[in-house]
Symmetry: C3
Subunit: 188 residues, 3 copies
């Protein structure tokens, strides 16, 4: 994919996108792969997919081309955070752990999580089956509220500012007050 | 309201406010009306109300002058998001849909929602009556928690970053990770 | 702690940190003490603790030196918001109310809240005992969800944008849309 000579305009846009993702990522506690050439190739892949499909389909996966079917693999994909937690990198190795970003560790291959899970990052609680899960997400609203989370995910609270989010694990940094992960508590 | 000659200082402040709202809006997935002169007039209205009342009372509505009574119409008003969803513009047409912002569509008149709803953007679920709704918002805290939402609003979760919010519809963009509306799921 | 002459490099870093915390604070509705020299001394304390312990342990409290044991006093500490609500300043008087920031009021001594509460800012609802509270935070996940909040804290909703957070009181400003505190409603 080395299109440095082939298309300097594409490389310029890839560079701009890299800088933007790096800046936004760092503000939110995410790190890009320290191999800049590798990341620029991924950026070109994202830009190519944007032109092809109209959205940033993952450059490392085969897209369907219908946004609705590719939603989970629009970058950043639904699998990034569980993969970072488990493997220290996303499937593409675009996003990596702080250790890998600092060059203290090498990224390892990340198995494809898509299509293999009942749900992304479902915690091992007595949760709904895949079919029930799907039904719940599209099902009618009820106000009985016997269960807080339909998706079975835990809710985390930042003890500094009160920010709430529902994820398998708390974020690396609170996106509101920048407190570190270990200042989150389980809320629900 | 054309005070361009009348008061260049006011126009300068209106311009600065316009730039700020445009920048903040775009970061959060909101678009200002593309008619800049029209928006500058609205900015002057906001600034006039700020001087008059001490807060940004909606420039298109009659303010009471007591903050407590005008809370719902402090810009951005409580009705902006439901109006954007239903009509593609807020009551003032300060905030518009992306289509209108791009000039691909003209804004339409937006009926006054204030005082006509049981609640803002209440979803058609078996919810509390207006009186019960009011009581719930001011009522004593209980930890029994049989119902998650007191206001009857659904809770949405960003599938990318886990952000939670309670609104009639998900936001156009996740304010945390900038994912688009269609990557939100119903959470509660 | 006046190290202006003693170490110009430390003072320069203190100044940079001050500017950063001021900027980030103001964006989120927090105000630093208007006494800049006082704040620069606190910044030096934070930087010294960072070198000593690896984290921003509160410059006004004795640190244990083990991050896990000092989590609640990493600046901003878990007590900042309840102290701002009750006394108009945090324990260090680094963060102060808007009135104090404007010089309209003097900061008052703030009693040490650490270790004296069952929980930070626990609202007086029939909540769990301290032991139960601890157990809940580390306990196994259940999806029965009979109670929304494990920590007994109320959940607040911004009526403008739908942001949700769990705190003793709503934030001074919505961190997402900058709406003022009085536009929050009790949500759960």
């Amino acid at each position: 994919m080395s299109s440095l000579e082939a298309c300097p305009e594409l490389r310029r846009r890839a560079q701009a996108l890299y800088e933007r993702l790096k800046r936004e990522g760092e503000a939110a506690g995410y790190y890009l792969n320290p191999d800049v050439e590798f990341v620029l190739d991924l950026m070109e892949g994202l830009l190519a997919n944007e032109e092809r499909y109209g959205y940033w389909s993952c450059p490392c996966r085969l897209a369907d081309g219908i946004r609705e079917k590719d939603l989970d693999i629009i970058c950043p994909c639904d699998y990034r955070d569980p993969d970072l937690d488990e493997y220290g990198a996303c499937y593409c190795a675009l996003y990596v752990s702080e250790e890998i970003a600092r060059g203290e560790k090498e990224p390892q291959p990340v198995p494809e999580r898509r299509g293999t899970d009942v749900g992304v990052g479902l915690v091992p609680t007595p949760g709904p089956s895949a079919a029930e899960h799907e039904e719940e997400l599209v099902g009618p609203s009820t106000s009985s509220g016997h269960r807080f989370t339909r998706s079975g995910l835990p809710v985390w609270r930042c003890k500094v500012c009160g920010y709430l989010c529902a994820r398998p694990q708390p974020p690396l940094k609170c996106p509101i007050c920048k407190a570190d992960r270990d200042r989150f508590e389980r809320f629900a």
